[in-house]
């Protein structure tokens, strides 16, 4: 405070560890759940962890280099596209097979 330059109190490590934990939780969800929509939710958590990392690196490395933010924007676009198409596929599969359990959707096995 005052004459000295105020530093942020939170080191980058906190954000990175948080993002890693969020990513791991999402990974667990993707690998362990049966319902396809829940798997998609896990993927969303993982994408969010990635976004936290991108923004954190933008903030802590070079605030004038906007690349981190630009990539985060692209992640948003990809997440939206992925959810839209993914859920559409699940609804279509449900209509035909009456289930969206990932164990039972095995059309592409052969």
């Amino acid at each position: 405070m005052g004459a000295e330059v105020r530093k942020t109190m939170i080191p980058i490590s906190w954000f990175l560890i948080f993002a890693a934990a969020l990513f791991s939780i999402g990974l667990f969800g993707v690998l362990s759940r049966k319902n396809a929509i829940l798997i998609l939710m896990g993927i969303e958590l993982m994408l969010n962890a990635v976004n936290i990392n991108l923004i954190a690196f933008w903030r802590y490395r070079d605030s004038l280099d906007i690349s981190g933010q630009a990539f985060a924007v692209m992640v948003f676009a990809v997440a939206a596209a992925e959810v839209a198409v993914g859920l559409a596929i699940f609804i279509s599969v449900y209509r035909r097979r009456g289930t969206i359990s990932a164990d039972e959707i095995d059309l592409l096995k052969w």
């Binding site: 939780i25 690998l31 049966k34 969303e44 990809v78 609804i91």
Partner: protein, 169 residues
């Protein structure tokens, strides 16, 4: 411990708790609502990173649109509660260990990084990241191609998803 750090820890713990509930709860609607809570926590963390724009975009896109789409899909597939079936598939123990190992691995690698504990001076009020982002997104030297490609990607997703989900009457 400063005020900021306390708030950060509360928000981060809440977010991780909500995320854990997303991947463990049986009721699909509850999972969706916990997902919303986790996404809101992430939005607050974006604000901590001086990226207020991403904080609100997170709420607008993820909570306002993606979560609602998911709730609609849950209603349409009529599997609100999976109480009859098992919560996890048979590989869940493997999944658990993989996740733990993955987290430990990342944490270890990160701890080797010399800049791990860096803190930065507060962002000067004269920098407006949204303006910078706007310039970068349409400047040919930067991200113009990605910007227009994102638009085409979303268009393709729109058309594809509508064709897949649509039932002909």
């Amino acid at each position: 411990m400063s005020f900021e750090q306390v708030v950060f820890i509360l928000v981060a713990a809440g977010t991780l708790g909500a995320a854990l509930l997303v991947v463990t709860t049986r009721n699909l609607i509850h999972a969706a609502l916990w997902l919303i809570a986790a996404l809101f926590g992430v939005a607050i963390l974006f604000v901590f990173l001086n990226a207020g724009f991403f904080g609100v975009v997170q709420i607008v896109i993820y909570i306002g649109a993606i979560a609602i789409l998911m709730i609609f899909a849950i209603m349409l597939t009529r599997q609100i509660s999976s109480e009859k079936s098992a919560r996890f598939n048979k590989n869940w123990l493997w999944a658990f260990f993989i996740s733990i190992i993955f987290f430990a691995g990342i944490a270890y690698i990160l701890s080797l990084w010399p800049e791990f504990g860096t803190t930065k001076p507060i962002l000067s009020a004269e920098i407006d990241p949204v303006k910078q982002l706007g310039v970068a997104l349409v400047s040919p030297q930067a991200y113009l191609l990605a910007f227009e490609l994102a638009s085409v990607l979303l268009l393709a997703a729109l058309i594809g998803a509508v064709i897949i989900a649509w039932e002909q009457r």
